[in-house]
Subunit: 229 residues, 2 copies
DNA sequence: CGTCTCTTTGAAACGCGTCAATGGCTGTGG
DNA sequence: CCACAGCCATTGACGCGTTTCAAAGAGACG
């Protein structure tokens, strides 16, 4: 029903000539993912680089104790494993599909050769990592300085920003459980459930089994900006 | 008194020929820093790339509210702003000297030109970012899943690993205040002080005004690995 | 229609932040 | 040389936010 928004040209292709774009895309291997499919596993050899075309993946770390930390949610136009060209590199996080997805993949050898031949591609991949780094640093800052309500409000706003507008609200583009929101904010599904119930009462959002719609972004931002005092 | 350890060749130069190393190092501008000097400011244009020769810097973010988050401590052989070659990029974190330090710097234009000319250099810079990313992701995981004692113990072990061995202990290579340890662990100087007093009583470490020595690394690792249960 | 996963709600315990006051070390200037 | 100021560290008491545990409800799916 809702249109997927017109897919802008991926940042990865920025500044590449038509010919260069063909050279890059020709050897790409498309791959389809079902929910919970694992594209790359944390700690495993990073032997492929991926560009998401359709759908959303979560980037997560599983600690020795088995607890899961959700680092980011990525979608169309985003890359995974921009470090793949580095010989011997390993995935720093796992990538797991949240919904049916389609990605383009390049084996390490291939993307490394392309990156050496196309300087602009290497720069773009650097820019992608830089972007990811910014996001991760924002998460660090949040975790270190903010309380759970602020962290959760920000996480929801971040997710909603990549979603689509429905009647009077921003709907998050992919299914997301309380547990995942907890993993994303370093909290527990109980606390998340309580907060969201409260906010739903306040008319800030509406949630129905996996689908969350932010009704009042300004109101949520007010919560997100509240002093920890 | 204690020897600075023999400086290994920086990772940045790995795989570069003698001639390439000269090309890279010739246009470098050395710069001396005093404690609290700011090498780069978060959010400011990233117009220089730096390689640390001597001393340690802290990488930190200052939030709108003024609270400081310490992302990492870097030392000799480490890089700052490996993203500088990207046009228009900004420093994602501030870099502030913890002690007298000496760094080599390259203006953005210069390092960008060099990176385009020396593919191996670009790869090395990518590897540096990748390394930083690993560290930051470990911090995220810690903040999201561990309690303060574990986080602090890990932070101390991390710092001590880059320090030097003294009689029966690992001394952290640079001055560090309780406040900085708190900023590093998303805690408060009070909690840090209490924990360290307790650990000093247990014989795990010794601390004297800014200088911290880990006496029993295995013991500290035991604390770091304790179940959050 | 039953099972499984996700969610809600309550009550209790506790970790840790907050505030306030004190103490020690360092460097500086009278 | 001593005294003062400034910074950093210590310690206790208190309160609150969150986790923890337990139990029950609600959709989804075969």
């Amino acid at each position: 029903m809702t249109m997927t928004r017109a897919s802008a040209p991926p940042r990865l292709l920025a500044g590449l000539s038509e010919g260069e774009q063909r050279d890059l895309l020709a050897p790409a291997l498309p791959r389809l993912l079902k929910p919970h499919d694992v594209l790359g596993h944390q700690g495993g050899p990073a032997d492929l680089f991926a560009l998401i075309q359709i759908g959303h993946l979560k980037l997560c770390r599983t600690s020795a104790a088995g607890t899961e930390t959700l680092v980011a949610v990525i979608g169309p136009g985003d890359c995974y494993a921009a470090i793949a060209p580095i010989p011997g590199s390993r995935y720093p996080v796992s990538a797991i599909a949240l919904e049916p997805a389609r990605v383009l993949t390049w084996p390490r050898q291939t993307i490394a050769a392309l990156a050496d031949r196309l300087p602009r591609l290497k720069t773009n991949m650097l820019a992608e990592i830089s972007l990811r780094m910014s996001g991760v640093l924002a998460v660090v800052e949040d975790l270190a300085t903010e309380r759970v309500p602020q962290r959760l409000a920000r996480a929801l706003l971040r997710l909603a920003a990549h979603g689509y507008a429905t009647r009077g609200g921003l709907e998050i583009a992919h299914p997301v459980t309380r547990q995942e929101l907890a993993d994303l904010t370093g909290s527990t599904l109980f606390t998340v459930s309580r907060l969201m119930a409260q906010w739903e009462g306040d008319g800030l959002l509406r949630s129905a089994r996996g689908a969350v719609t932010v009704l009042d972004p300004e109101g949520l931002e007010l919560v997100a900006a509240a002093e920890p005092d």
